[in-house]
Symmetry: C2
Subunit: 265 residues, 2 copies
């Protein structure tokens, strides 16, 4: 359970960071599975202009370890608490931010995309980052603009040129104004960190030229009452299975990590 101070921090600042929420053993499993996924050729895996992996969609549907992560009580329970209801998986990605070649994500709000492309009624969906590698100041950490979630959906332009991933991005004047008020935070820390932030919180990340990869699972849990109304994107990008998530037991992922694939099958 989140305490009162954590709940208030989320509502006031728009984000909450829970360091080392998953164990080194769990993270080592997920890292290895992510690297195996990136070696596959499938439509759910998008690449940088350089060919390096950028993001792998919907891995919780075709990989058992990520399937267990997607139902983990350490992640699901705090979001249910904040929304006061059950949640379903709206989107699930493993973002690579590969060593040397990981490219920028320009400043944007995620809910801007969900409302425009998916017909999501309200910004009652939670963005979540689970750190698989150590996130450092120098390997392209997620940068958040605190308090920017109070602005509603800001005007945005559709950027289809900067990177290989089209995105509704904010203009420089808007970002300058919001940063002038709220600053920028870039939560960093060991693998296993859990970062929760509001669907309207402005965020972005710079490129990664270091030898340190910065893989995170980047997923969205939507309140069941807020299911999307007018999907236009492929099912594996914006899911239309609105079944409430039932959590695993607390140790399911670590049992799987310890026992290998067979033990969990």
């Amino acid at each position: 359970m989140l305490n009162q101070q954590q709940v208030r921090q989320f509502h006031d600042e728009g984000y909450l960071f829970l360091p080392e929420t998953f164990t080194p053993e769990e993270c080592a499993l997920l890292r290895a599975e992510a690297e195996a996924i990136y070696r596959q050729q499938r439509p759910e895996i998008w690449r940088e202009k350089s060919g390096a992996p950028r993001t792998a969609f919907a891995a919780h549907l075709y990989n058992e370890a990520f399937g267990l992560l997607a139902r983990h009580p350490r992640m699901i329970r705090p979001v249910e608490q904040l929304f006061g209801e059950s949640v379903y998986m709206h989107q699930f990605k493993i973002n690579a931010k590969a060593s040397f070649t990981g490219d920028v994500w320009q400043w944007h709000q995620d809910y801007g995309t969900w409302v425009r492309d998916d017909g999501m009624p309200e910004p009652r969906a939670m963005n979540i980052a689970v750190f698989l590698d150590e996130v450092m100041p120098i390997n392209g950490p997620l940068m958040l603009v605190p308090r920017s979630h109070t602005e509603g959906v800001l005007a945005a332009g559709h950027d289809v040129t900067t990177t290989s991933y089209p995105l509704w991005t904010l203009d420089e004047d808007t970002v300058t104004r919001l940063v002038g008020r709220g600053g920028i935070v870039a939560p960093t820390g060991k693998p296993g960190g859990l970062l929760l932030f509001h669907g309207n919180l402005v965020h972005g990340s710079a490129g990664n030229i270091t030898p340190y990869p910065r893989k995170i699972v980047y997923l969205t849990l939507n309140a069941v009452s807020n299911a999307i109304r007018t999907p236009t994107r492929p099912e594996w990008i914006a899911h239309t299975d609105f079944t409430p998530i039932t959590v695993t037991d607390e140790q399911a992922l670590s049992r799987y990590a310890r026992g290998g694939r067979k033990a969990a099958a």
Copy 2:
């Protein structure tokens, strides 16, 4: 004078950082002058693919404030001490790393360019960064690989595509090996910081997507006995005036900042 520990740190690690060496007043002057220079159209000013300024060469020759910085005893004396002789200005740039659009500098050694392009006999030239803006972890700080200066000149490829500035850059395996041994440091701090590093120290910097510009003066002081032998680049990129620098008095730059242009003219 540098103390014994500082001298040892430079020789062992390849760099030395002296925070807040120039005053807020001196830095405010240099920032304003840099911005005025970037607004000019001249061949010494190179731009990013976006059109934002990337670097302005040789400003010490056409701007009085930067002329005073280029002869400042707080910068010149430590380098004379480390080299044991007089120095001259080999190169002088104001690097913009502009807000939102500042682009990457890939991993490289500067001496690799000086020996190949300028015929510099030995790596007895010092790279210096003077922070004009606050350098933060998130606005594209210079990243250094400690101890990499002991490797001599490493094999490099001529990168003419990544950014608007051609550069002899190192391959990923080499950088991974050196970082595995020495790690990465990214000195940060208020305007006025002075960073000195060896001509063979491997360094680079990521892009800057924040609203915070990160201007630094980035210059090279070469030992007079080590003057370049076979220049191939324009005079305003690699200077051929080998006259030893005579320092100003300690207060010349701050007098100029206080009194404005006329007082110093």
